[in-house]
C-alpha cells in the first residue's frame, strides 16, 4: 500500500507527538523524593519530557504514579513479526459455531488420567466447567459433550469408552513422571487406539497433556498433539476445531 508510513510514533493528539501514559508503583514513601524518583524511571524508559500528573501514597512505604510523557522511540512496522500459530485461538462462541455448522452434532471428548496417576488437576482444568486461569473448561462449550472418566483408568477402559461414546477426541493427562510413567501410560493409550481402530482414518484424535512432555514429540508417543504446562481450555477447544474440522470457516 502506498502512503502508509513504515515508521510511526505513539499518537496523543498530533501526528508524531509520541505521547504515552503509564502508571506504576515505587516502593518509596510519598516524600520529597517520590516524584523525582518516578521521573527518573520515566526518563530511563525513554520518556522525555515526562510529567507526573498524579502521585498518591499507598501506606507509608509505597507511592502510586500516573505519568505522561513523550517517547523518543520509533516503531518500524516493517520489522513487526507476526507469530505464526499452528491454529488460531477461538472464543467459545466461535468454537460452538464451527462445530454446529461443520459437524452438525455435538463433538464428543472422552478424557481420563490413565494408569497409576491419580492427579486429575490438569484434566479437570481442561474439562470441568470451572476451567483454568479464568477460562471455562470444555464442559462449558454447548456443542462439546464431555465424558470425564477421572483418574486411574486403564488405557483399555478409556479406549472402550471412547468407542462406545463415538468420541471425536480422546484426552489423557499425565503428571507423574517417576520411571517415565507418563510416557509409558501414554503409549499404552496410543497402542490401544491403534488396536481398536486399525483404520487410521476412523481414529479419534488422541491428545495428551502434562507438564513434563518437553523431551518427546507427538510422533514418539503415537499421539496427535501434546499440550504442556499452562495450556488453557480455549487452546484445546481451538485445536479440536482446527484438527477435526479443518475446512471450517471461522469468523474472524
Amino acid at each position: 500500500m502506498t502512503g502508509e508510513p513504515k515508521i510511526v510514533r505513539p499518537y496523543g493528539d498530533t501526528t508524531g507527538d509520541g505521547m504515552v501514559q503509564l502508571s506504576f508503583t515505587l516502593p518509596v514513601g510519598k516524600d520529597g523524593r517520590a516524584d523525582g524518583a518516578a521521573l527518573q524511571l520515566a526518563r530511563k524508559m525513554g520518556l522525555e519530557p515526562a510529567t507526573v500528573v498524579h502521585s498518591k501514597a499507598m501506606g507509608p512505604d509505597f507511592t502510586f504514579f500516573v505519568v505522561y510523557g513523550r517517547v523518543s522511540h520509533l516503531v518500524d512496522l516493517s520489522q513487526v513479526e507476526v507469530v505464526e500459530r499452528e491454529f488460531p485461538v477461538l472464543t467459545a462462541k466461535e468454537v460452538n459455531l464451527a462445530i454446529r455448522s461443520r459437524l452438525r452434532r455435538k463433538l464428543v471428548v472422552v478424557g481420563a488420567t490413565v494408569g497409576t496417576d491419580a492427579h486429575t488437576v490438569g484434566l479437570d482444568a481442561i474439562l470441568n466447567v470451572k476451567g483454568f486461569a479464568g477460562e471455562k473448561g470444555l464442559e462449558y462449550y454447548r456443542e462439546v459433550r464431555v465424558v470425564n472418566m477421572g483418574s486411574q483408568v486403564t488405557a483399555d477402559e478409556l479406549v472402550a469408552r471412547a468407542k462406545a461414546e463415538h468420541a471425536d477426541a480422546l484426552l489423557t493427562s499425565q503428571v507423574v513422571t517417576q520411571k517415565d510413567a507418563h510416557l509409558h501410560h501414554t503409549r499404552e493409550v496410543s497402542e490401544a487406539v491403534v488396536a481398536t481402530w486399525p483404520d487410521a482414518s476412523h481414529r479419534p484424535l488422541v491428545i495428551v497433556g502434562g507438564p513434563r512432555f518437553d523431551t518427546v514429540t507427538p510422533k514418539d508417543l503415537g499421539v496427535d498433539r501434546i499440550f504442556g504446562r499452562g495450556t488453557t481450555p480455549a487452546e484445546v477447544a481451538s485445536y479440536l476445531v482446527h484438527a477435526l474440522l479443518p475446512t471450517a470457516k471461522v469468523p474472524a
Partner: protein, 520 residues
Amino acid sequence: MPQTKLGLDPAVVRRARALARKAAAPVEKLAHTHTTVSVERATLRLAGVTGADATGMPWVNHLVDAVREQVGLEYGVALPVWHALASGEHTDLVAMAEKAATGGVRFALPTGKDAERAAKAARKAVGTGFVRIDRNRRDRNKLLAKLGDPPKPWIYLIVATGDIYEDIPQAQAAAREGADIVAVIRSTGQSLLDYVPEGATREGYAGTYATQENFRLMRAALDDVSRELGRYVRLTNYASGLCMPEIAALAGLERLDMMLNDCMYGIIFRDINPQRTFIDQRFSRAIHARAGIVINTGEDNYLTTADAVDAAHTVIVSQLLNERFGLEAGLQPWQLGLGHAFEINPDIPDSFRLELAHALLVRELFPEAPLKYMPPTKHMSGNVFAGYLLDAFFNLVGVMTGQGIILVGMMTEGIHTPFLSDRDLALENVNYVRNAVGDLAEDFRPAPGGFVVERAHRVLGESVELLQRIVDDGLLDAIADGTFGITKRPADGGKGLDGVVKKADGYLNPASDLLEEGRT
C-alpha cells in the same frame, strides 16, 4: 431498610420457601442417613488427631481407611477407634494411627459394655474439640466488642500468593488499606484432594493450601493487625470440595470467621458427586452454626457460565435452597451470606436497572441475611478504564441496596492477581461511592409498576415455577438435568461417591450428637 420497596406478595414468598423446603427434604434425609469418609475424618480431627506421615498423608486418613477396611464405616469410626484405644496398647490416637497405617492395629466393632465405654470415651475426646470451638466463638465476640465490628457493607479482599508467609504481610496490608474481611484463596485443585494437607505451606498454584497451621498463622496475624487498627478483621477460607467437613472443623478450631460453603458449587463446577456433597455439606454447616461462622454461598458462579438475565431465577432458587439447607443444619439467618453477582452484559440496554432489580429482590427476599455481592468478572474485558467504571456501578448497586458483604472488584480482573495499586484504586472506588451515595437507600424507591419492580416480580415468579419443577422431578434429578449452571451432574457420577456410606442401626458419631444437642 424498609422491606416493601418492591411490594413482593408475601403469599408468593411463602410459597417459594415452602417449595424450597419440599425440594430439600429428600436430600436432607439422605444426609441424615449417610456418612462419608470426610465426615468421619472430621470427627477424629475434632478429637485432636493431627499430623501426617512422611508423604503428607494425614493420620486421620490412615485411621479411617484402616477402620473401613476391617469393619466398615456403617457404624462410624468412633466405636472401633475408641474401642481399640481402650485396649491400652496405644499411648494415644496418633500413635495408634501410625501403627494402623502399616496394618498394625486390629479394629473391631465393640458390643455391650465395651461399646458403652468406647462411646463414652469418644464423646469425651470429641467434646474437647467443641470446647475449643465454643471458646473461639466467645473470643471472637469479645474481640468484636473490644476492638469494634466494622459497619456494613464489609469490604472483602482476596489474598492468593501460594505461600502463607507471603500471604501474611499482604493480608495485613489489605487490612490496613481498608479490608474488613480477608479471604485466602486455595491452591488450584485442593477441592479434589481427598485429604487436607498438613502444616505451613509455601507452594501453591494460584492460591494457598487450606491447612490447620495456615489457618492458625493467618488468624494470629490478623488478630495483630486488628488490634493495631482498632477493628476486628475477619478471615475467610473455603469449606468446599471433598474435605468440606474437615475444613469446616479446622475453621472452627482456628477461629475463622466466614467460610465459602455452597450446597451445590462442588457438584456443578468441580464434578464432585452430588450425594457426597450434600452429606458433607450438612455436617459442615452444623459445625459452622456451632462455631458462629458466617457462610458464603456461591450463586455468583452460575452467572459466570449462564447468562445473568436468563438465569437470574436460578440464583434465587439456589439461594432459597441454600437458606433451607442452612437453617435445617442449625445456621441462623445472620450466618447466611447468600451470594449473587453483578454479571449482566453491560452492552444490553437497561443493564444497570436489571442489576438493581436483582440485587433489591435478593435483599428483600432475605432481609436478615448479610448477602455477599460479587463484582463483575465475565465482562471485564482487559480495558481497565471501562472496568473501573463498571466496578463503580457495581459498588453503587451494592450500597443502594444494602448488601452486607461487598467483594471489591478489580479493574485488572482476569489479567493478573491484583497489584498493590489495583487494590488501592479499587478501594478508592468503593470509598468514593460509599461516601457519595450515603443513605441514598433511604430516598430510593422504585416506581410501583415500573421497570425495576416488574423485573423483580418476574424473576421471583420464574423462581417459583422452577422450584415447582424441582419438587416434581426431585432435586438430584434436576441437577442431573443441568438446571444449574448448564452442567449435567447425575447423582451417581462425579468424584467421591466411593466415600459415601449408608449408616447402619447403631451408627455412632459423637460429633453429630454433640452438634444436635447443642443446637440453639
